[in-house]
Amino acid sequence: MWAVLLPLATATLAFLADRRAATWLIFPGAVSILASVSGLLRQVWLFGPQRHMVGGWSAPLGIELYADGLSASLLAMTAVVMSTAGFYAVQTIRRGGSHTEGCDNDFFWPLWFFLWATLNAVFLSRDIFNLYITLELLVLCSVPLLTLAGSGAALTAGMRYLLVAMLGSMCYLLGVVLLYARYDTLSIPHLGALIEPAPATLTAIALITSGLLLKTALFPLHFWLPGAHGNAPTPVSALLSGLVVKASFYLLLRLWLGAFSGALSPAAGEYLGILGSGAIIWGSLLALRQVRLKLVIAYSTVAQIGYFFLLFPLATSELARSSGHPDWVAMAGSGVLYFLISHALAKASMFLAAGCIAHAAGSDRLSELIGIGRYLPVSVFALALAGVSLIGLPPSGGFVGKWLMLTAAFGSGQWWWAIVMSVGGLLAAAYVFMVLRQAVVFRLVDIRFYEVPAGMQWTALVLALLSLLLGVSGEAPFDLLEIGSPFSPPPVDGSVP
């Protein structure tokens, strides 16, 4: 509960206060949110899934907040990324001048904390209408943050994102309305118990899925993402790629596994898997063609999002297909979630490092970044480490995630996804090395480099290291994800969890 209230309070106070007072609020705000998230994490770890009815109203009118292992880990991921990216933003603002990329705007910090509040609300909600509201709020917070950069490209990218998000929301809402009309409930577990394949239901599922796919930028609906993530202020790009796209994917996951599982045929997961494979290949190929560093990273996000969607064929069609292997389902689930979290950390780190590099060189065109490794070793190292996690090399978190997904793919007999993942890994290596090649060249070129504060560079490095740490942290994260896991089969007696 506090996880949502505290950032809301910080945001409102930051909005009401003037700019100087607002800077004093940021640090205590972030610390208090981190504290509440860790408190929640501990509670979920010790006592299992937590529930809280807002205001004491029970369903169907009340809003239920629910935290299981998955929610808690995503909340923790959000808190970590937002704190570090926020620290980076503070450094950017302090640096001042033309390099702030709009972060010194009066509305930056209120929007930042509103976004944090919304992300926490997404991961804690369990009824489809509340999720609709939080989806809308995500857009309403992200687009202004994105447009703070002020350039024409940022404004048009923001408008494109806004329109795509509006379309997605309308489709989602129509789906929600149809589901309510049929089943009289908005709560995900209730829907899971009641749902059956009927034309209206399938239409609703198709609408909701399309809306969420638009928002998650799955190929071929990814056209808005590179412009938006590539042109936003650097800390905002880190948030958008690291957290916001994960939120709509999380929604899709909850809905498909929790509410729609009774109505979907085994083949449905395959469709998403095919689109995911397309995303991996297409996104990686386009990343190789880019001339701007931030766009390489943005297209890399398009590709990595494809990996998440491989969860559906690995987990759902397996459920329906073979009988005696629930382990593969849980393995696929943990793998994708591990990959998701380490991707969030790695991608945020890459964007922050790219921001440092772009500040130093004055532009982020790859051709102008030759030899920058001499001047910004920390940032380039962070970029490399994050790249390691994205490619999936040991001992990073990305490796663990991919390993689990590959094992699940082979174990359940769906070896074709393994081929796609391997090709994706090779292509990721290609574009990461393409970037690093520019940076590491030790040619004595006469280029003017601006000073970049150490704080900014080390922030990027910290995130990259965290992404690696996930790979060596052993069993604990998996046990956390298992709590109240959505991947275990529903209770046989039809009781609502």
Binding site: L140, G152, A153, T156, R160, L167, M170, L174, G227, V291
Partner: protein
């Protein structure tokens, strides 16, 4: 066909018309207006759903959903319009340009 069904069908028709306009027209203001019409269509559908049990009191939950939806719709429209004005002031265009522009130039 009773009243509730009529509302619901009209709502769906409005949604489809709005969707067509949203996808076909390039002018940003038209897209925003189309979005509003799509929203109104969904709200009308919700009102129809509220009355789906004939001769009984209307279901209050869809009404709550409509109110919330209106709030969301208004805020989106407001922001979209301001962004549109900013884009016009900055670039002089009222349509989104070809998307390849951002990938290979500065």
């Amino acid at each position: 066909m009773n009243q509730a069904t009529l509302y619901a069908l009209t709502g769906v028709m409005l949604f489809v018309m709005g969707l067509r306009a949203f996808l076909l027209y390039a002018h940003l203001l038209r897209k925003i207006l189309a979005f509003n019409i799509m929203g109104s269509g969904i709200f009308l559908l919700l009102v129809g759903i509220a009355g789906r049990v004939p001769n009984a009191a209307p279901d209050p939950v869809p009404h709550a959903l409509v109110l919330t939806g209106i709030v969301v719709s208004v805020s989106f429209t407001a922001f979209g319009l301001v962004l549109l004005r900013r884009i016009y002031a900055k670039t002089g265009k009222t349509q989104l340009t070809d998307r390849m522009e951002h990938t290979n130039t500065e």
